[in-house]
Amino acid sequence: MAGIEIRSLRKQFGDLHAVDGVDLSIRDGEFLVLLGSSGSGKTTLLRMIAGLERPTAGEIHIGGERVDGDVPPRARGIAMVFQSYALYPHRTVFKNIAFPLEAVRTPRKQIEEKVRWAADMFSITRYLDRYPRQLSGGERQRVALCRALVRDPKVFLLDEPLANLDAKLRNTARDDLKRFQRRIQTTTVYVTHDQVEAMGLGDRIVVMEHGKVRQVGTPQEVYEDPVDTFVATFVGQPPMNLLDLRDASLPAGTLVGFRPEHLLPRSVFGPGEDLRTLRFSVRRVEYLGSDRYVYGSVLESAAPDATVIAKLPANIALAIPEGETHEFAVPRRLLRYFDAATGLRRPP
C-alpha cells in the first residue's frame, strides 16, 4: 500500500495542454475521485500515473518512489480497470483473471487459488469458464476488477468503470465497489464525469477542468463550500443557483449562490431564522415523487429572466400555483458569494 505524490504534472499533446500543472497528494488507502467533464484531462492524468503516458513535465511518486520517466507500468505496483474493461476476448474469465499472475510466473496452484479467491469476492465463480462475450456488462466489469485485484497492487486506477452500465446496475455496482475498497483498503484513484458517483464514492474529490485542478476536498466540502462558480455549478444536481441580487450591502459584481434545496417557501421557516427573502415568480412545477422542482425567476435579480430552481421535498405539501409570484427565502448562513468577474469565492 502506498500514497501518491504528484507535483507540477503536465502533459501536452501538440498545442493542447491536456494536464496543465497538477499537484496532488493522495493518501495511503484513500479513495480519491477525479471528477470533471469530458476532455478535462482525467484519463490523461490517470494514464500518466499508470505509466501508459509519459509526462511532459513534473513528478509522480508512488509509495515514496519516483516513477515518472522510465519506470514501466508493470514495475509501478498499479492495476488498472479500463472504461471498456479491455478483457481478453479469446481467453475465458479464468484465464483473463490469471493473466497478470502468469505474467509474473506465479506457480499454477497459487494462480488457481488466487483466481478463485478473487472470483468469490465478486461472486463470479459461476462464470469462470465462460468467454467475455458471454457475459453481461456488469459481469464483465466485475471480471475486470478481479483481474486488477489478483495482482495485489499498491494502487488501483479505475477509468469510468461504471459508465457502460445501465442506471439501475450502476447503483449496486457503486455500492459493491465502495464496500470492496473499504475491505481491502488499497489506495484508489477513480475517474468519473458523474458527480453523483463522485459524491457517493470518494473520500475526497478532485474537481478538474481544462487540465487544471479546481478544488480538492471531501464530498461535503466540495458541495457546501465550492471554491468557485465552476465547482458550484458542476457539483450538485440541479446546480447551484447564481444570481446578482444588486444588494447594497455587497460589493458590486458579487454573485450570490444557493442550492435549490435551500430555496423554500418563506412560510416553512421558523420565526428565529436569519433569512434572505426573495420574490419567486413561478413558471412551472415539476412533480418528481420524492421532490418537486419549481422553475421560475427571482424578481430581485439583475437578470430577471435567469432561471432559478427550487427543490421542495415531498413533506412540504404547500400548493405552489404556476404563473404567480411567491415569497421564498434562503437561510443567510447557506448563501455563498462569488466574484462575478473571476468566479472565485468571496468572503460574505
Binding site: 508493470r74 488498472m80 505474467a103
Partner: protein
C-alpha cells in the same frame, strides 16, 4: 424526378444485371476450362489429335505409379508449407516494424509492396540471376562476409533448388501477408494491448498470448490465400528450375504443363493438375472454419 419505378429501384433486377458480366467471366474462363480439365483427366486425349476416348481411372493410376509425380506432389507440399511458414513469421515481424513510426516509413511501405506489383515472370528471371551458379550475389556476399567456404549451386542441387523456390514464393506473398497482418493489428483495441502492458506482460507474452491469438482469423485467411497461390503457381518453378535438375524440383503445375502441353498427353496432364483439387478444398474448408471459430471466440 420520374414518378415511375426505374431500373435503379428494382434491386432484384439491378442485382442480376450487375452480376452478369462477372458471372459470364467466371463461367466461360474459369468454369468451362475447369470442367474440361476434369473430363480430360478421365480421357486418353492427346494434343495431336481430336480423338477422345474414355480412359477411366487409368491416368490417375499411371501418375500414382510414377516416381516423378510423387516427387512433384511432395515438392508441392514442401514448397507450399515452407513458404507459408516463412511468410507468417516474416509478415508478423514486418508488421511489428511498420506499426511503429520511423523516418522513411512511407517509402519503406512502398518498397515493401513492390514484389507484389512486379510480374511473376519478370521477378523469377531476376531471381534466376540471384541464384545463378556463377554470378549468385548470395554466394558472393556470403563469401565476402567469410561465412561460406565452398560454393553453393543453388539451382543445381535438388535441396537447394527447392529452398530457392520456397524463398521466391515467400517473397512473392510476403507483402500481401504483411498488409493483412497490419490491418489485423490495427483492429485490435488499443485498450486491450494496454491492459496487457499494465498486467505486466512483456513483448513476447503480448505477442504470443494476446496479439497473435486475436490475429488468428486474419492470418488464417492470409495463409489460405498464400496456400492457393503457391500450390497452383506455375511461373516461378518453370522459370527458376524448369523442374530440373533431372525432374527433381517439379511441382504439380509444372509437371502438368510438361506432360499435358509439351508432352502432348492431355489426359495425364489434366489428371496431374486436377489431383490437388480435393486437397485444396479440404484445406480451404478447414481454414475457413478455424477462422470463423476464432472470430466467434473473439466477439
Amino acid at each position: 424526378m420520374t414518378p415511375r419505378r426505374t431500373l435503379a429501384d428494382r434491386e432484384e433486377v439491378l442485382g442480376g444485371v450487375m452480376l452478369a458480366p462477372a458471372l459470364a467471366y467466371v463461367i466461360l474462363l474459369v468454369g468451362v476450362p475447369f470442367v474440361l480439365a476434369i473430363v480430360l483427366s478421365f480421357s486418353d486425349a492427346t494434343a495431336g489429335s481430336l480423338r477422345f476416348g474414355w480412359a477411366g481411372l487409368r491416368n490417375y493410376a499411371a501418375i500414382l505409379a510414377d516416381p516423378i509425380f510423387l516427387r512433384a506432389l511432395r515438392n508441392t507440399a514442401v514448397v507450399t508449407i515452407g513458404s507459408q511458414v516463412l511468410v507468417v513469421v516474416l509478415a508478423t515481424a514486418a508488421a511489428q516494424v511498420f506499426r511503429t513510426t520511423f523516418r522513411g516509413k512511407r517509402f519503406a511501405r512502398f518498397v515493401l509492396l513492390l514484389p507484389w506489383a512486379v510480374p511473376v515472370s519478370l521477378a523469377a528471371i531476376a531471381w534466376t540471376w540471384i541464384f545463378d551458379s556463377t554470378f549468385s550475389v548470395i554466394n558472393w556476399t556470403l563469401k565476402a562476409a567469410g561465412l561460406l567456404h565452398g560454393w553453393l549451386y543453388w539451382l543445381g542441387e535438388p535441396g537447394l533448388a527447392l529452398l530457392a523456390i520456397i524463398i521466391v514464393q515467400a517473397w512473392r506473398i510476403f507483402p500481401f501477408a504483411t498488409v493483412i497482418v497490419l490491418a489485423g493489428l490495427s483492429s485490435i483495441p488499443q485498450e486491450i494491448v494496454e491492459a496487457a502492458i499494465v498486467d505486466g506482460a512483456g513483448f513476447w507474452r503480448r505477442l504470443f498470448q494476446v496479439e497473435l491469438p486475436l490475429l488468428l482469423p486474419v492470418v488464417t485467411v492470409a495463409v489460405l490465400f498464400g496456400v492457393v497461390y503457391t500450390a497452383t503457381d506455375l511461373g516461378v518453378v518453370y522459370i527458376l528450375t524448369g523442374g530440373g535438375p533431372a525432374n527433381t524440383t517439379h511441382v504439380l503445375p509444372t509437371l502438368a504443363f510438361q506432360r499435358g502441353i509439351l508432352g502432348a498427353d492431355l489426359g495425364q496432364g489434366a489428371a496431374i493438375a486436377v489431383f490437388l483439387l480435393p486437397f485444396l478444398i479440404v484445406v480451404a474448408i478447414a481454414m475457413l472454419r478455424l477462422a470463423r471459430r476464432a472470430e466467434v471466440g473473439a466477439r
